[in-house]
Subunit: 387 residues, 2 copies
């Protein structure tokens, strides 16, 4: 039995995506900056990928900057915009939320502690939801950049990006969203979201690891933080990862074409997971918003059960799950997201995230719903060891 | 006819490397930070790759930081060390050379212009060679980091890294080398080179684009400039590019195993290219050191011939070459390397780089030596258009 329920951590690369990538690992190996045929063929692949991604987002091709991962996109957005805004206008404050991915939150803290920025971290409610009026209340000429994630990786809550974007736009304050969990799962149109910058990474939508992009609206102040050659219009130096970029474009096109049908399918599975786990597992509570949440995302805290033991037992039963963020798990700290939502630490140690994707079937959900209550009971010492 | 003589720009990915990579695009797709089996399998691949690379360099596994490209490695080294050194000791000067790759030079300039560092750019001689005593003369407690490339990408000159490293070490000044062109072509042992930091990228040694590494000696002051999760011991955030990293390790192991024999083979071809071109092409001059140069690297300036026309004509004849750096070519500026070497601008516009690699045969060199003099003559208007 091998049931993968950790699609928020990473996804398998689709066969069609590997197929699209392979020619650029082989025949079309040129450096896209070279002027000879071998280089131009690589450049053509790069251009086509950029057009595909720009079109899906409703962006201009020149607004897509290819990066090495979602964390790099987040770093580039926060650092690049904050530094440029301060140089241009003296604006010196970063506004964000306490439920951001570490790539935003730690970067904002680094900019505060080592680069002299001020930092405002707005509170969220018990669902991890942010009230746009709380953003509005702190917007003034001193704000260099606002960064609010589109959908939370640990608890699945979808934040009101369009509303926050509109508030920033009327004040001409650059607005960034970390859309790493949203791209491929929610409609992403940069004008409807009213964002100036948007981060994404391929491996969350069945593309390869090691490649991402940053959408950066034309005219947004930006000071490159990865300097060198004039790649990506001098906004991100480094020989472009052509195979990865071509693969990312293919993966995004496929994800977008199938998005509505696939998310409707997953939402049914998710709702069964949530409904049945809340019924069958004593002391389980849903984390994140019940209604404004990603269609593939179910997350819980389980009273009196430590996450690690639960995950190991699930793994032994052939079920791959996580406690929250894979990116944070190595740090062995309590979830900053659950803490910010006011979840008591007694519960916060018992985080369980089940994130669905293409491989999951109704039969797999049956199996999980059969095993999970027994595992929790076993851990609580109410059952003998044999499952 | 398809003769690729641009191996300094990029190299094709070897079939064995693609084969090593594919399982990590398929079966072993987990996030290496995940604790379940799928994640642990990815983590095992990552660990094995790190051991392979560390062993080849004579480094500890914890001293290898995986990055997205050579430019990122250079940026991380310069920014990360300079910022940490200033915080620790107030040292505020960056020392480098005018022949560095733009990823070092533009980063040093950015640190001067936007982060308040002082910058010393040491002169080189007509071969692009740096005298270690010139480095020694500027070393004092105010120097935060010294960065000198191992082998020049445009003219192939090998710089005396071990000697410079020794001078820095006795003064406890961190020393970085951009070894992007050297790794896989020269012996790289971090203790013999006496470096504290060393940059490399896989696509220069028959690995894929989109992945590189930074060697960072244990104890070297370093402030991460890509913040977020605790990946790479909190020195570089972002989900690791597992397929790319596994491929890079495989490519480096192969390159290292074959290095001596392959470089001996290429040096014979290179010496024929250099000898015959200097004889057969009127007004051609070798650029870079005649003796201390990469075994695969031949570079020239050709009086009275603009590089672009020459490269296009070569391309039409099935020969992929370059004028100097692919990373700089998009900028359409005269070579900063040739300028720093004192090459008059009349000559510097006629740069030609022929960089050899695995695919090249003696017959290909015959063909190039037959075509090139005719192309140059044609461009000079001394021959009719038909070749």
């Amino acid at each position: 039995m091998n049931i993968y329920l950790d699609h928020s951590a990473t996804t398998p690369v689709r066969a069609e995506v590997v197929e699209a990538m392979l020619p650029y690992l082989g025949e079309f190996y040129g450096n896209p900056s070279s002027i000879h045929r071998t280089g131009r063929k690589a450049h053509a692949g790069l251009d086509a990928a950029r057009r595909t991604i720009a079109q899906i987002l409703g962006a201009k091709t020149g607004e897509i900057i290819f990066t090495g991962c979602g964390s790099e996109s987040d770093n580039a957005a926060l650092r690049g915009i904050a530094l440029a805004r301060r140089e241009q206008s003296g604006a010196n404050r970063i506004v964000t939320t306490p439920v951001e991915h570490k790539a935003v939150l730690e970067t904002a803290i680094d900019l505060r502690d080592h680069y002299g920025f001020e930092l405002t971290i707005l509170p969220v409610d018990g669902d991890g939801q942010l009230d746009p009026t709380a953003v509005e209340a702190v917007l003034d000429d001193d704000v260099a950049v606002v960064s609010v994630m589109h959908a939370n990786n640990e608890v699945g809550t979808i934040l009101p990006i369009g509303e926050i974007g509109a508030l920033c736009r009327v004040r001409r304050i650059p607005f960034h969203t970390d859309a790493v969990q949203a791209v491929g799962r929610l409609p992403i149109h940069v004008d409807e979201l009213q964002v100036d910058a948007l981060s994404a990474t391929a491996h969350k939508f069945y593309g390869p690891k090691g490649v991402g992009f940053l959408y950066l609206r034309q005219g947004t102040p930006f000071h490159s933080v990865l300097t060198g050659g004039s790649h990506e219009n001098s906004r991100r130096a480094g020989t472009e990862n052509v195979p990865g970029i071509v693969a990312m474009a293919k993966a995004l096109a496929l994800a977008e074409a199938e998005r509505e049908a696939e998310m409707a399918r997953l939402q049914i599975l998710r709702d069964r997971l949530i409904g049945d786990i809340l019924k069958a597992v004593d002391g389980a509570q849903l984390t994140g918003s019940p209604n404004h949440r990603l269609a593939n995302h179910a997350s819980f805290v389980v009273d009196g059960v430590e996450a690690e033991g639960m995950l190991i037992a699930l793994d032994l039963a052939g079920i791959a799950a996580s406690s929250g963020s894979a990116c944070t798990s190595a740090a062995q700290q309590p979830s900053h997201v659950l803490e910010a939502m006011g979840v008591p630490s007694r519960l916060a140690v018992g985080g369980l995230r089940l994130s669905l994707g293409r491989s999951n079937t109704p039969e797999q959900i049956d199996y999980v719903l059969e095993k999970l209550p027994r595992i929790v009971a076993q851990i609580r010492g109410m059952m003998p060891v044999a499952l």
